[in-house]
Symmetry: C2
Subunit: 158 residues, 2 copies
Amino acid sequence: MEKLTENLQEPTLGQLLAQVSRLIGRHRQLKLASIGLHHAQGMILSLLCRNDGMSQMELGHALHIRPPTATNTLQRMERDGWIMRQRDPADHRLVRVYLSDKAKDFHEEIRLSFHELDQELNSILDAQERETLRACLEKVNDYLTATVVKHVVDEEIR
Amino acid sequence: MEKLTENLQEPTLGQLLAQVSRLIGRHRQLKLASIGLHHAQGMILSLLCRNDGMSQMELGHALHIRPPTATNTLQRMERDGWIMRQRDPADHRLVRVYLSDKAKDFHEEIRLSFHELDQELNSILDAQERETLRACLEKVNDYLTATVVKHVVDEEIR
DNA sequence: GGTTAAGGATTAGCTTGCTAACTAAAGAGA
DNA sequence: TCTCTTTAGTTAGCAAGCTAATCCTTAACC
C-alpha cells in the first residue's frame, strides 16, 4: 500500500483541498453522531442559534447551498424534531425556520463540537500558519463563491 | 442579505474548510461536466492514468474513500464506459480496474481540468501563500487521516 | 486436511449535495 | 385591474459519501 502512495505524483492544491474537505466532513460527522446530528445539520443549527427565524433562502445564501438542498435537509431536521418551519404571515413565499426546545437544549454541545475541531487544528498548526491558512481560505472562498455562483447566474441569463 | 452576513460571527477554521471544500467540488463538477464526468470520477481516472490495474482497495486507500463508495462509483463509471473491472486471476478477492479506450482518449482533458483549477488558484494566491497553504493542508490531511481512520479501526476492535 | 479467521467487495439504506422542472405568492406595468 | 415577471420553495431524480450486514476467497492454525 505504501509503495503505491510513493508512486503518486504530488497532488495538486485543488486535489488536496478536495480531499481535506471530505475528511473534515467525516470528522464532524463523528463528533456530531453522539448527539444524533448529521454534519450539515450542526452548521445549520449553529447559524440558527444566532439568527432564529431565518428564511430558507437566507440560510442557503449563508451556507452556499441551493434551495433544494435546504428544503431536503430542513425537512429531515423538522422530522427529527430539531426545528419548526412556518410560512411568513407577511410574505407567504418565505418559509421561516425556528429552533425547537430540543435544539436549544443541545446548543452547548453543538458549539463545543465546533470548538473541539478548532482546538485540534490549533494543536497541529501554529498561530502564524492558522492566520495564513484562514486568509488563503477566505480568498479561495470568495473567489469560488464569485465564480461558481456567477456561473449559475450566467446560466439563468443565457 | 448582506446585513445577515455581517451579523454572523467569524466562521471557525473548520467551518471555512468545510465550506471551501464543498465549493471546490462544485467548481470541479462544472469543469468536468463538459466531458460527461462527475467530480469524483475525474480524480479516479487521473489516479488510474498513473496506475492502470489498481485494485478497488488500493484506489479507496489512495483517495480516502470507503469500499462501498468505491464499488458504487466504479460501477457507474463502468456503466458509462470509462473503465473495465475484472477479478484478479491470482486472487479472486481483488477487483482490478482498467481504463477504457474512451478514458485514455480523454486523458488530456482530464489533466487539463485539474491544471485549470490550479492556475486559477495561482492567480489569487502568491507563491508564498500557496506554499503555506499546501503545507497546512498536508498537515491537516495527515492529522485527519490518522484520527478519522484510527477511529474506524477502534470501532472494529471495540 | 479441515476449520476458523481475515480480507476484499457488494448490497441495502441513509444524508447531503446538485440540476431541471414545477407551484404559488408578490410585485410591476400597461 | 389584469397580465406578466420575479422570487421562494418544492418535487423528482441523480452522484457521492457513509455505516451495517453479507458473501466469497484466501490465509492461518490446530
